[in-house]
Symmetry: C2
């Protein structure tokens, strides 16, 4: 990677941009991922679900009937808040996690990413603070940066964010006079850390936030994808007036529809609808009704169970690969979701190692992507959602050879790192 900026053409509009646009820079790993998307590279980088597991024939037939029978609605503008019927079905989905709400509490969005963007838009002034786990979802960090907020990371352990560390951080921020707008969490099968906030801690975290008047943003795309157990109750179920819940069909059906949702307290929901209408007028009726008809006519819960089994098999593949080929690293064994979070052997730097990995035809996301201020170089995120178990094993083998030669460098020169560029701001969307 060269330190040369990607675009060398002069920008005649450089002086016109808004302050918030100045932080919008392509991350230096983007160019690399263009290479990583080549078929010969095993990508353990992306968060792309296994769409091949879906009943495509049946979905195609359902959508055809939808267009023919209800095309005048499906291809028309719709409600800014989202289709009423779909909002009722979303209640059925969320009931599996103990969320009780009313269809009017739900705002349907262009993926839950848009819900996150809208929440940030209505709450964040420049300089406001978001408290998030350490590490945190790269796409959320990008949103917070776009609204010129700061992020304070709070440590996690195997049971998720640590309550005492959260209290300590909030005390410190308060003492510093820095306004905390919300606590952003991915409580289930965390991206990238793979851990789940324990049952014990959920009420503690909700209570800490409630006592201090801080909203909780519960981002939950993976909650139904546990391999070994039933879903835990959502944090929303513990304090509906203090939690904005974000859900998505991207991982339980397909991200190509771009349909997610937010459940929010009444007045917040009103603002979210207005902000969404301003941003996109309304979510896609075609996508919403396609999902609605799928939920009506297909055993969607059975499909989720199939996905769980497929992802468990892939999780098993990556863990056994790590055990066999990279025993000098450490990792967690996720009980669901798409990711494992790997700590590299002492002295290795996941960011500077990435070009060598891509050369060896394997890709991952360096840990630095998941911290607002560029920490995390001693970790990497490995995704096991997309490649087959065989390809996953091959990818881990390739990664092992890269790590081995890095370790030789460390032994010889004392370090394998070299000075890296700044934090990762906007990696490509398929990493999310």
């Amino acid at each position: 990677m060269s330190d040369q900026p990607e675009g060398t053409r002069l920008d005649p509009w450089l002086d016109s941009y808004a302050a918030r646009a100045l932080g919008m820079k392509a991350s230096e790993i983007r160019a690399l991922f263009a290479v990583a998307n080549r078929p010969e590279v095993v990508s353990l980088a992306g968060g792309m679900p296994f769409i091949g597991g879906l009943p495509l024939e049946e979905i195609g037939e359902l959508i055809k009937r939808l267009i023919i029978e209800r095309g005048e609605v499906a291809l028309q503008y719709g409600s800014g808040q989202g289709d009423q019927g779909l909002r009722e079905q979303i209640l059925d989905v969320m009931r599996l996690e103990g969320v009780t709400a009313h269809p009017d509490d739900i705002v349907v969005t262009t993926g839950s990413q848009q819900a996150l963007d809208l929440v940030a838009k209505i709450f964040l002034n420049p300089g406001d603070v978001v408290v998030a786990e350490a590490p945190s979802y790269v796409g959320a960090l990008g949103v917070f940066r776009a609204y010129e907020a700061d992020v304070e990371h709070v440590p996690m352990d195997a049971d998720g964010i640590i309550p005492s560390a959260l209290e300590e951080a909030l005390d410190r921020l308060k003492a510093e006079g820095r306004p905390v707008k919300f606590l952003y969490l991915v409580p289930n099968f965390h991206n990238p850390a793979g851990v789940t906030l324990s049952m014990d801690r959920r009420p503690q975290i909700v209570e800490i936030a409630r006592r201090r008047g801080i909203l909780v943003i519960e981002d939950n795309p993976y909650g139904l994808l546990g391999f070994d157990s039933e879903p835990l109750p959502a944090m929303h179920s513990l304090n509906p007036e203090g939690v904005i819940y974000l859900g998505s069909f991207s991982k339980t059906l397909g991200p190509g529809f771009r349909i997610g949702w937010a459940v929010a307290p009444h007045a917040v929901k009103e603002k979210l609808v207005l902000a969404s209408e301003s941003a996109i007028l309304c979510p896609s009726n075609a996508s919403q009704l396609a999902i609605s008809t799928y939920l009506d006519h297909h055993d969607w819960l059975g499909q989720i169970k199939k996905f769980r089994e497929q992802y468990r098999e892939r999780r098993d593949a990556i863990i056994s690969g790590l055990e066999e080929h990279i025993p000098e690293a450490s990792w967690n064994v996720p009980a669901g979701g798409f990711y494992t979070w790997v700590k590299l052997p002492e002295g290795l730097d996941s960011k500077s190692m990435l070009p060598r990995a891509v050369t060896a035809r394997v890709a991952y996301v360096p840990g630095t992507a998941f911290y607002y201020h560029g920490q995390g170089a001693d970790h990497m995120r490995l995704s096991f959602c997309y490649p087959t178990p065989e390809r996953i094993l091959e990818g881990v083998r390739r990664l092992a050879t890269v790590i081995e030669s890095e370790l030789e460098l460390v032994e010889t020169f004392g370090t394998a790192t070299r000075p890296g560029p700044d934090t990762v701001s906007f990696p490509a969307p398929d990493l999310a």
Copy 2:
């Protein structure tokens, strides 16, 4: 209409909102339009296209084949910039208006509304000024308000925005030290004014902006829907480095897909892609590929010609209705698009008259929606896109009775107006 705020529940998060959210208020005409959507009301309010004119059987079959044959792409995450194949096809569409560009210059968005939101996001600081026509598109005004910008309206006549008035406004703003970020225009079959920027004026306007270093935002959803003539060359074709062109499939195919696009100078395009990835990760592959396969396999230009004829017939219906039933008003005869802009007889107020119109089972959008500071009460926008010609005539007849009784009030009391609430901020999306 009561002056009572819609939500009377207390908002515990009231103190947490960002400054930009304070301006996000539901317009007081929203509640009214919930009533106006009842089937017994003839809506001359909405900008909903005539989806019934589409070949739904064929589109359903095409999408079914798409999902079965390419479902693993269509239901997956895609590129933040949009599908490469669709971007190439968009070039074919824009070639009809003289736009020459490269697929890499295009960013596909969730309707062109999102493109507008992204442009505002990367350019507008609070207090910046956008120069727009008087009147201007209500959805654009909502976006500018969401980014806390101010809007300066410049008069139009039958040939569109008036160059000398534009220069005068820009001189004045410069003298006042107010930073103008861009000039926002709907040059073809203007929403709501129905007029088209003349061939003579296009290079003049582009040159005025170029000389002063001001970007032009050319919002063009209706350009291919001229009734009597071929499309005029886009302003983009006159200065590609100084114009951001916004296009849409909402009016030439269907808004239910939520697919629009922006064509922008290289560096601006880069920022738009980053801003879009932050906001939604990527546009819907399902929607993009559905449109792509429609463009590939259907005579899309033939379909647009059919739409033109259908909308011309509706335009003729509304104009002859106005001539016959409301001769005391004045209006323009649009040569394309969806709207006519009606000046009410002296003393009438379109905003305060609206509840009476809805009671008489006809709806329109008051002119106040199309001005940033609430002017325009002497005008109304009538849409002729959605109802059949017969229903349009019935709607105009109903409107005539309302106007007549208003005029009687004026004769008796000297005025039919009563004090109205503030400006219309966020009307429902189907008014756009």
